[in-house]
């Protein structure tokens, strides 16, 4: 029989085949041994990439799965960062408690922001999220308690429980890198599981046909707000880690551009796919932070670009080129591979399977 029934658990297993297990192990081995041969700068860059992976995986649960667009995720990210630091410094909560609590606070704000989603659709909802992101940034910027415009310095990253006399401070970039790595692996697995089970399927159902979703018994109110809350939780966790990767942050770190960049990450990577979110976050972080770090070292056109930037854009820094690169990648994706990097990967795989026919 061609369509033999399978052992059903195999279909929902995390590691469906030996090949996947193999590549997962190779990939993890690379990530774990990475610090042994990389400079602090690259540990920092990779930690940042992983933080953004967490955020974009969560954002994709909202945007890719339920089809609701948020331009306010920098706000949840900020709540995660400020929340974690302030809960640690003001309430002396241990790090792990603080970051989870901050993520839940972000999730609560996500839930509240999800409420208008029940009435607003499309662009109107997006404007509401945009307003939320801006409001968070300005409220923080004008409140002394949150450090005002000066921002906050992250405290020592003690992952123990100092009150109980058990203290374990992560002060090196390597140790922070490993902490972020562990969080990233957990959050990615959690996202994969959510999308494979009841709630994740309900999210997709709402996107494809909310009327059909309702008549099969899905509570629209509950699942629309749940998607916002879940997505905000991921951004909150990312924000909490971000605070310690950077060590210092101010309100303007969490501006509208950051929210837009989050959206770019998942669009470039592939809407609705976890692998897409990961690859998009990595590529865009690289473009934003590393591509034109040493622009004058770029062969042939390097000096030209520097001169051009100083003449027409800004005398300081090469940020403009990074944004231009991101814009070009975005346009390229829209033109040639609307399903994003992940869609391209699937096509490539199909191509190789049938090659050379």
């Amino acid at each position: 029989m061609i369509n033999m029934k399978r052992a059903y658990y195999e279909d929902i297993e995390l590691f469906k085949s030996g090949t996947i297990v193999f590549w997962t192990i190779v990939f993890l081995a690379v990530l774990v041994t990475f610090p042994l041969y990389m400079s602090n700068y690259y540990l920092y860059l990779f930690s940042l990439m992983m933080v953004y992976v967490i955020v974009s995986v969560g954002l994709n649960i909202l945007v890719g799965s339920t089809g609701q667009i948020s331009l306010g995720h920098a706000g949840f990210f900020a709540i995660g960062a400020y929340g974690t630091v302030i809960l640690m410094t003001s309430l002396s909560l241990p790090f792990f408690v603080a970051i989870i609590a901050a993520a839940f606070i972000a999730a609560f704000f996500g839930f509240v922001l999800g409420l208008p989603a029940l009435r607003l659709e499309g662009p109107y909802l997006t404007i509401a999220t945009l307003a939320f992101g801006l409001a968070i940034m300005h409220i923080i910027g004008h409140t002394e308690f949150f450090g005002g415009r000066q921002g906050l310095v992250a405290p020592a990253l003690d992952i123990g429980v100092p009150q109980l006399g058990w203290s374990y401070v992560l002060d090196s970039m390597i140790s922070k890198y490993y902490l972020v790595l562990i969080f990233t692996i957990i959050m990615v697995l959690v996202a994969i599981n959510i999308l494979k089970t009841k709630a994740g399927r309900a999210f997709v159902a709402i996107r494809d046909s909310d009327i059909a979703a309702e008549v099969i018994g899905i509570n629209l109110t509950m699942y629309k707000t749940l998607a916002f809350a879940t997505s905000a939780f991921f951004a909150g966790v990312g924000g909490g880690l971000f605070a310690f990767v950077l060590g210092f942050f101010d309100p303007f770190t969490f501006n509208l551009i950051l929210s837009v960049i989050f959206i770019v990450m998942i669009v470039v990577g592939g809407l609705g796919s976890v692998m897409g979110s990961i690859s998009g976050a990595i590529l865009i972080t690289y473009l934003m932070y590393d591509l034109f770090k040493n622009v004058d070292e770029v062969p042939v056109v390097g000096a030209l670009l520097v001169a051009f930037s100083q003449q027409f854009m800004t005398i300081t820094g090469m940020d403009n080129f990074n944004y231009i690169a991101v814009g070009l990648v975005m346009i390229g994706i829209m033109l040639f591979e609307p399903l994003g990097l992940f869609g391209g990967w699937i096509r490539l795989k199909k191509y190789w399977k049938t090659w050379p026919f």
């Binding site: 279909d11 009841k198 309702e214 749940l226």
Partner: protein
């Protein structure tokens, strides 16, 4: 009052009385068909029953409980499932996921339970497997094996109609509302559907409300037929009675469907 009934149901859109004082009562395990020319208000009755529209007046009684005022998801919880005339599937999901979605209200795994589905013995994994088994029964029943993992968007129209029936069946409802399930199917598919609808009634102990334009099908499987026109009842009776009714013949005059 029967097992399932609508009582004096009315709704108008602007000045148009789309459904105008409709009442009927359906017995448990009956196949009850609704016929009428285009735009006579058949689909609107289904929308009123499933809570998508709120009637201006009237009641929808299911086992003694009024459904009017409930949201569609609550109506579903009470055991009423439906398909749509213009197909409302989750087209970016596979057939399997569409059917699993039909199991939604029977599943207990929450967001957290699902998030921590690590290992075969986790509660979430056990539940997934259990409901997969239920869905596989439906796949076998409707012979959907070959498209199990296909995306719904890529299927032929007739197959999609069938997947929608399967999804409604996955809800384990007491009453099923089928809105023109055979539209767009070829003769062979229609014959199969005919048999399946009868089987659904027998094997699943289902009460079925059926909207159809295909008179052969109506004549073949209905216990009773309700004929309507411009939102109002023409007549109710056995297929043979209704087919001979002069006003039904007049309403359908010029329409080729009448057999």
């Amino acid at each position: 009052m029967g097992y399932f009934s609508v009582e004096n149901l009315s709704i108008s859109f602007g000045g148009l009385k789309a459904v105008d004082g409709i009442s009927f009562s359906v017995e448990k395990n009956e196949i009850f068909s609704i016929i009428g020319p285009n735009g006579s208000g058949k689909t609107t009755i289904f929308n009123l029953i499933s809570g998508i529209y709120k009637p201006d007046s009237g009641a929808v009684m299911m086992e003694g409980e009024n459904m009017v005022g409930k949201t569609p998801d609550h109506v579903a919880l009470k055991g009423i499932a439906r398909t749509f005339q213009n197909i409302e599937l989750f087209k970016n999901a596979t057939v399997m996921d569409n059917l699993m979605l039909g199991r939604h209200m029977h599943m207990n795994t929450g967001l957290f339970g699902g998030a921590f589905m690590f290992g075969k013995r986790s509660k979430a994994a056990k539940e997934e497997v259990k409901h997969r088994e239920e869905v596989e029964k439906i796949i076998d029943f409707l012979e959907l094996q070959s498209v199990r993992d296909s995306f719904v968007g890529s299927l032929a129209y007739g197959k999609r109609k069938l997947v929608e029936v399967g999804r409604a069946l996955a809800l384990e409802p007491k009453v099923m509302l089928l809105d023109e399930p055979s539209a767009g199917m070829n003769t062979e598919e229609k014959d199969d559907l005919n048999i399946w609808i009868k089987d659904i009634r027998e094997d699943y102990n289902m009460t079925i409300l059926l909207i159809e334009h295909d008179m052969n099908m109506i004549m073949g499987i209905s216990d009773r037929v309700f004929a309507m026109q411009q939102g109002q009842k023409i007549t109710l009776g056995t297929p043979q009675e209704v087919q001979k009714h002069p006003e039904v013949i007049k309403a359908y005059l010029g329409e080729e469907e009448i057999g």
